[in-house]
Symmetry: C2
Subunit: 280 residues, 2 copies
C-alpha cells in the first residue's frame, strides 16, 4: 500500500455518525478454499465489535464435488449455467457444507453466527432469470420489493451474526443460485436504510491498483472525480471496473462506503487507518 496515500476513516469498531454501524462483508474462493486463510479471516471477522453480516461464495468445493458426481460445470459467456443437478449441488455445498462449517468455526471464536440462505426467513426472494438468448437455469435475480431484511435486523439486534450463502428462492418452492457479490450489495443497500453500512469486498488484490503490475500501488481513496480521472487516464484494468461501478451503485443507493481489498488487510487493522481501497 502506498504510504503517502493513507487516509483516515472512522474506526472499524466505533459507531459511525448518527446511525448504527453495520459491516456487510463478502468473501470468495480465495479466502474459502484454503483452511488457513479462512481461519485467519474468521479470527479477524469475529473480532469486529460492530454488527456484521458475512456473505460467502462457494469456492472450488462445488466444482470438485460436482466432478466426483459427474455433474459438469457449464459456462456461457463466463457465467455458470445452473441445471437441476447443479442447483442441488450448490444448495448442498454453499448452503450446507461451506455455510455450516463457517458457522461452527465462528462459534468457536465466540461469534454467535447463524447461517442462512435467501430462502430462510424469506430474506431474499428472487425471480428465476427469464430465458432469452441464454437459459441460465436455476439462477435468481433478487426481487428487492419482497426482501424481508427486517428479519436480519431482528437477528442483528439480538447480537447474532448472519452468515449468508449465495442462494435465493423463487417463492414457489425452488431454490435458486445468485451471485454472492450481488447478494452483498443488495443486502447492503436494503440495510442502508437502517444502518450506516460499510460494504467490504474481499478479493485477491490488496485493493484497486494504480499500476496492475505493482501489488503495492493501492489507491486508498476513490471518489467520483478520482474515478473519472482514472478512467480518462486508462489506469484501471478491465476486471476492476465493474466492481467499482457496483460500488458506486451501492453508494448512490444509500450505502455509506465501500471497501475493496485483501481479506488479510481489510479486517486486521482496527485502527483508523484504511488498507485497501475506500470508495465513497
Amino acid at each position: 500500500m502506498s504510504e503517502n496515500n493513507k487516509i483516515e476513516v472512522d474506526s472499524l469498531n466505533s459507531p459511525l455518525g448518527v446511525g448504527v454501524k453495520l459491516f456487510v462483508i463478502k468473501i470468495g474462493g480465495n479466502v474459502i478454499d484454503e483452511d488457513a486463510s479462512l481461519q485467519a479471516f474468521l479470527k479477524d471477522f469475529a473480532q469486529i465489535k460492530a454488527a456484521k453480516i458475512l456473505i460467502h461464495g462457494g469456492g472450488k468445493i462445488a466444482t470438485k464435488l460436482g466432478d466426483k458426481l459427474g455433474i459438469e460445470s457449464k459456462y456461457v459467456n463466463g457465467r455458470r449455467i445452473t441445471d437441476e443437478a447443479t442447483i442441488d449441488l450448490v444448495t448442498m455445498v454453499y448452503g450446507g457444507l461451506v455455510n455450516k462449517n463457517i458457522v461452527a468455526k465462528l462459534q468457536a471464536l465466540n461469534c454467535n453466527a447463524i447461517g442462512l440462505t435467501g430462502a430462510d426467513a424469506n430474506i431474499i426472494p428472487a425471480i428465476k432469470r427469464p430465458v432469452k438468448e441464454i437459459d441460465y437455469g436455476f439462477v435468481g435475480d433478487v426481487d428487492t420489493s419482497k426482501m424481508q431484511v427486517d428479519n436480519l435486523q431482528l437477528l442483528l439486534s439480538a447480537g447474532l451474526t448472519p452468515i449468508i450463502a449465495p442462494l435465493t428462492h423463487d417463492g414457489k418452492g425452488q431454490m435458486l443460485n445468485t451471485n454472492a457479490d450481488t447478494i452483498a450489495s443488495t443486502l447492503a443497500v436494503a440495510l442502508g436504510k437502517k444502518y450506516d453500512v460499510r460494504l467490504i469486498y474481499c478479493f485477491e488484490k490488496k485493493g484497486v491498483l494504480e499500476s496492475v503490475e505493482d501489488d503495492n500501488s493501492v489507491i486508498n481513496l476513490i471518489t467520483k472525480d478520482k474515478y473519472q480521472q482514472l478512467l480518462a487516464d486508462k489506469k484501471l484494468f478491465d476486471g476492476i471496473i465493474p466492481k467499482i461501478d457496483n460500488a458506486f451503485d451501492a453508494i448512490n443507493a444509500g450505502v455509506k462506503e465501500v471497501l475493496i481489498g485483501d481479506a488479510k488487510d481489510l479486517l486486521k487493522n482496527v485502527t483508523d487507518e484504511v488498507n485497501g481501497t475506500l470508495i465513497k
Copy 2:
C-alpha cells in the same frame, strides 16, 4: 384407528391451558424420501396456526449420495459411524439439500420457515461422544447446559418457523451428527419451560398398535398405568418400547404431551380428535 377409542384433546390450533402452545414435530425418512409424501406433510404442517418447530432426519439421500461418492456407510450395533467424510456428507445433505428444500417449499406455502442446525445461533451445542468400546466418530451428545433456546424463542415470537437439521457442533469448530429423535425431545424439554409443548413423532405406523399385525388397532391414549398394563400383557412389539420410554422421559421432564403416529393422520385433523397415540 379403533373407533371406540377416540378421545378428546385440545384443538390443535387453539391455545392450550395457561401457556402458549408449541408443536415440536419430527419427521424421518418415510416422509422425506418421497416428494409426494413430503409435499403432503408440509401442506398440513404449514396450516398449523400454533407456533411450531420441525426437526427432520436425513432419509436415504445421504446414503445414496455417499454411495456415489464412494463414502461407505458404516454401522456398529445398528448405529451409524460418522467418520470425517460422513460428517461432511451429512452437513451437506441434512444441513443443505434437505433443510433448504423444505424451507423453500414451506415459503411457497406461506410458512415463514428458517432452516437451522444446532450450530446456528448456538442452539444445540454438543460434546463429541467419548470413545469407549466403539468410536462413533463425529457424533454429538447434546450439552443441555449450554443450549441457547432463547434464540429459538426469539424466532418463534417473530412468527418464524424453525426447521432443524439433525446436526450439532462441539464449540471448537466441528460439526457433529446427532440423532433427530434426540434433538426433537431435547428441544421439546428445553422449550417446555416456556411453552405447552406437544411433541409429535411421525413414523411409519398409525400409532402404537394393540396388535402388531393389525394396522388399525391403534391405541389412542397411553397413560403410565396403561403402559404398565401393556408391558405386563406383552402386547407391545420391541421397536416401540424405546419410543414410549422416550415419550415418558420427555413428559417427566416437562413436555405436556407426546403424539406418535403417521404424518398423514397426525396433522390433517385439526379438530379435537386425535389420530395416532397420545401419551400423557
